[in-house]
Amino acid sequence: MKSARLFVLTLSVGVVLHVAAHSTVVIADDSTLATHKEPVVVAVRRLTEPQYRQSIEDIFGEDIQITGRFEPERREIGLLALGSATLSLTAAGFEQYFNLSLDISRQVFSEQMRHAVMPCAPASPAEFDRVCAEQFISTYGEQLFRRPLSSAEVEARLDAAALGTEQSGDFYTGLQLALSSMLTAPEYLFRIERAEPDPENADNWRLDAWSRASRLSYLFWNTSPDKELLAAARSGELHTENGLNAQVQRLSSSPRVQDGIQAFLVDMMQIDGFDSMIKDATIYPKFNQLVADSAQQQMIRTLVDLLVVKERDYREIFTSNETFLNRPLAAVYQVPFASSEEWAPYTFPDSAERSGIFSQIGFLSLYAHPGTSSPTIRGIKLHEIFLCEHTPEPPADVDFSSVVDSSAATSRERLLDHMSNPGCIVCHQRSDPPGLALEHFDGMGQLRKYENGQLIDVNADLFGNKFVGAQGLGQFLYNDPRASSCLVRNVYAYGAARMPGSAERPYINTQIERFAENGYRVPALFSQIALTPEFFNVVIPQGAQQNTNNVASAASAQ
């Protein structure tokens, strides 16, 4: 058994290297664009861990166990989706993907599962069956690569499968190698978007149909395109208005749209980092990892219920006191948990001062220090997440000593002292007021009225906008038009993997207006954006300006 595994491992390494040489990723450069009108790669986005997992589950079934570590992701301009377009793979990361590919392939071709997966049966399980192998590679290759495989790509996997069968004496062991090579191919691990010449306008490029299918599928379902969407790409329907409408209608009306919108909300609201959150146990003894995990889930459940299930006004995330609790969270909020279920809906009373997603312990504890609250961090994150306003890093030579002395007075007084530094006031006068309004919540998000024996003042003044406490801050954000425009820009950027440029400002403004006209409903916003030609715009790599505009419309059919 051990020797068989070693054989598969050894052969797999060779196969992956061999097949990689046959990959047909074309990166556009000046010469390519100038002399050919072949499809060019316009974006490469690494699959996130949830996308990887969901894709495998959708393609091979939910019984596949995926046990492994994934490369860390990177957030750019507030979104992991934007960071994914700049990520590559480290050697260690590839090793993890490689091990995952072996493990998944082994499970797929286990005796229990192979019959459900295989589209055909080999003439003999001990010999290589080229027809059957090609059928498997073509069928699953298209689902994994999110486009049909080229003949060279199929041939490379057939060679691998034949070699594996020959050396192992087992057809399925041979196919394991072929599948493993597809699972480690950049075409699976990365969403590779291609542009093709627009047949209706020789000077324009458009996103090809397969890339359009992926863009839609990951936006709405956060997974690979299903067979119906791939068929629509194959037939060219996705380039037609009716075809696009039909697919968007289908995707957005499926229960799975919750997965897609949830993935976006988790990304935009930065609901991550709970695994590594640290709190000083002597100051916050109730904190443990169970509380941290629960706080993360609470934010997600609250947002999904409000925005997807109930399809309420997006701005209510700043004012709603409706949420979900489990037993650990109820203990931190100091309310009874009146349910025998694991989670139950709950409405905070006014006295709890909880108003909006930012007044939940998830946000409040994530954006605080291990032993104290932090009005500055909370304010910076409020601006960044909800208003798309980013704060520069502080200068390297700032003296933080008066701010970090948590035994003295209240945070407000410590920060006022800090702001006397003219180099600091520029940012702090913007970042601190919203955070100071949240000072009734300690570094773990627990309600308090006093700090170091002094009554905490939660009045805030943000450039003349005055509000009090979390409820006042929530109302301020509810009324601030920057919040809804931030969301619209983020939905576009999340789906297209790039922030809209200045030339697209009129388009974004139109979307913001339509978002408001539709009652600020997020699911409707997703469909609204996906149905616009601009959603499929491509940015042609540098050097191609002589052939086309920098941002080219792809929806020639509309």
Partner: protein, 419 residues
Amino acid sequence: MLNKTKINKALFVSVTALMLPIAAQAEWQRSYVIEWNEPAMYFAGEAGIEGPGSDCPQGVNPEQDWVDVLMRAGYTREEAEWLRNPANPTRSPTHGQNQMAFRGKDRANVYVNPTSYPDPGLYPMTGNVAEGLNLDGNTDTGFVSPSGEAGIDNTFYKTLGCWKTYRGPERLSSGAMQFNDGMRNGSWTMVIVVSGEGDDPSNDDNVMVGFYMSQDNMVKGGDGNISPHYTYRIQPHARYEGLFPARTVNGVIESREPTPVVLRDPGYTRDLELLQAQIKLEMKDDGTLRGYVGGYRPWLPVYQGWVNARGPVIESLTWVELPSVYYALRRGADYHPDGSSEENTHISYALRVDALPAFVMTPDASEVATQVISYKDQAPPLPAESGPMVGRSRIIDGLVIDPNAEYQAGPNAVILPPR
């Protein structure tokens, strides 16, 4: 990552909203979870955990010379040393260790026939200070409390206070740590509900206090201590429940009248059956509850609890001969129910209780338990008695018997192997 199935279930399946209907009768309510409880054994040691003090001038009972013990029981030195030698391959639990039981008259099992063995004695507890309650209302008898209250009845402490199992500062005796660790790690949970009818919770003549079991485990925070404010559902139990008519005086809950109760014992006995039970619990400013539950408990089950925890193991670990515990409890017993024989069958006892603020719900979790009532009629029947067990092993006469063992302990066992 997050479990989407669970999220969907919570979102789409109708669940009971956390609306909190409050029953109308009680004007005020407090509720707690017991995070620590142990026999109230006042510690007057000068240092350390087991050292001597005014209560136990000689410290704790020292470790026995078990070879000497066995020789006094009639074994030859060679036999005794053979049985006590850990290197002896036949000194298996079923042979060597179990043989420790058979040292009574005619090699009777001293655990189930302790009177077949002369009283080895325990170190006497000589102090006059003890924790607990004045159970009989007589201030001329009993101990003086650490705060100077006279008439404290706690003969259990007087009897076993110098046994290393019970001796030590609060939370540090080996017995207290063993059983409270089990409780805090999920073996059982007891909650307390206090409800009153007056306007001032600190001074209310009509208070009821309920002790209930809960199926919800306590949860530890990052500092390793039990976290307050968790929610616990009352688990109706056919045996473990205590309802105390009480009053509050300056924030201290005191019994209005004694009552019989059975609580979950933090010890091998499991049943803490108390006659004439009373409470004295202080509702502290930090929200915690601390004090005593006292009463007269039957002493024989206490002894049997130790026997059923495997007599030889208990003797080895706690350094006393179990018959001495039997004799001491019987000698110290100071109460018998009216109408029973004149022999005292019960011993005055106090349990020290530390409880944290918690939310206690009715059994269906639909509302906060504001009324102190009995839930016994909702309890499933108690499981049939299966005899004492330790882990998966059945205890017979204080011993774990392996019927397949080559050598068996017993009155007629051949101790030394053939040469």
